[in-house]
């Protein structure tokens, strides 16, 4: 009886020591998962997920503290990519996707208060105190953080134009046939 207890205790201690040593030897610094998650996020820094920026959300996901369906600008594509990376089930997005838009400042109304300059998380607004402010459309991520601070409400979100360079082939719908029907063509008179 005693031998049994002593033997088991001895075995447990030996294994415990081995595990302790391996824990020290193979210690992990930093959080490489968070980096990989961050690489998938759209970097809008809008805060719509409930975290102050994309990196904090990535770190929360890495710790397993948050759901993957919170990112609104990322939309379905980001949701599926995160589900793929983390091996979790893709769930429906919490908030509906909005069409991508950029902020535009109304030059007539702007008073040059610099409040929107300070609010922009990617420094996409140029200007100075008492000078006209302007949004660099190419750098604007559409996060809408500049709208609340403006005291004269001169910023509005303009959806990115649907023109030929931005047009994409749609996903074939289940109803479409191999060659879609075209609108009726009139029969003009012969020349």
């Amino acid at each position: 009886m005693l031998t049994a207890i002593l033997a088991m205790t001895g075995l447990s201690c030996a294994l415990g020591l081995l595990l302790g040593y391996s824990a020290m030897r193979f210690r992990v610094e930093g959080n490489p998962i968070a980096d990989q998650i961050d690489a998938l996020l759209p970097q809008t820094q809008c805060g719509q997920c409930g975290h102050p920026g994309c990196r904090p959300y990535a770190e929360a996901l890495a710790r397993g503290e948050d759901e993957i369906n919170k990112c609104v600008p990322g939309g379905e594509a980001t949701l599926l990519a995160l589900a793929d990376l983390l091996g979790r089930e893709p769930v429906a997005l919490e908030i509906a996707e909005k069409p991508p838009a950029v902020a535009v400042i109304d030059e007539q109304t702007c008073i040059g208060c610099t409040l929107c300059l300070q609010a922009c998380p990617v420094d996409a607004i140029v200007g100075a105190a008492k000078q006209l402010h302007g949004v660099i459309a190419a750098d604007c991520t559409g996060c809408e953080l500049c709208l609340p601070p403006c005291p004269v409400d001169c910023i509005r979100m303009v959806p990115i134009a649907a023109d030929i360079p931005h047009w994409r082939w749609p996903y074939p719908s289940s109803k479409s046939s191999a060659r879609a029907t075209t609108p009726e063509h009139e029969a003009p008179q012969a020349a």
């Binding site: 088991m8 075995l11 983390l86």
Partner: protein
């Protein structure tokens, strides 16, 4: 030499642990959604199985038998297996954090994988030598990895296909596993032992 070859073929194909002995079904179903995950799990299990079959054989030979406490072998083996799995987890966390994250709960669940304990006990039962026991464990793991990889590949293809709604998800997966098991019955009689 032929003995060893026969042990390998026996454990990998003829008496495959998953499809013939029906052990280790939990990770088999749980980790087979993606090919990369399945391959990673296979490697982890191989490492654990081989190491634990060696250590459990040693613990049995040099601790349990001399002290006459063979009745404690199940507890002792589980202790050993848990330690080996924890060690594997620590190493994997360092070397491949993504795989660690993706395997999630299934990595510590290798401890409860009945195939691992099964190998340790079967080695005892068949009174194998250390080399034979190691080979048996390794072969069992290779068989497990092989079947896991095959199953994951099939599941990936089925996932993009047109599965009727009542069958989607686990249902079609289990039917596929059953068909694979039927296929492996074809290996019966390959090795006369």
């Amino acid at each position: 030499m032929t003995e060893y070859a026969l042990i390998l073929i026996g454990t990998v194909l003829v008496n495959n642990f998953v499809l013939v002995k029906f052990l280790g079904l939990c990770p088999f179903m749980g980790v087979s959604k993606k090919l990369e995950t399945a391959a990673g799990m296979g490697l982890a299990t191989t490492f654990v199985l081989t190491l634990s079959s060696i250590t459990s054989w040693l613990v049995n030979q040099y601790l349990l038998v001399p002290l006459g406490i063979e009745y404690l072998r199940i507890i002792a083996f589980i202790l050993v297996i848990a330690a080996v799995v924890q060690f594997t987890e620590t190493v994997m966390r360092k070397s491949s954090p993504l795989l660690y994250q993706v395997l999630g709960i299934f990595l510590p669940l290798i401890t409860t994988n009945c195939a691992v304990l099964g190998v340790a006990l079967l080695n005892l039962q068949a009174k194998r030598s250390l080399v034979e026991a190691t080979l048996y464990g390794f072969g069992a793991a290779v068989g497990f990895s092989l079947v896991l990889t095959l199953f994951a590949a099939v599941r990936e293809r089925v996932a993009v296909g047109d599965v009727p709604e009542p069958f989607q998800g686990s249902a079609i997966a289990l039917i596929t596993a059953g068909l694979m098991s039927l296929a492996f019955m074809g290996f019966a009689g390959l090795v006369s032992s």
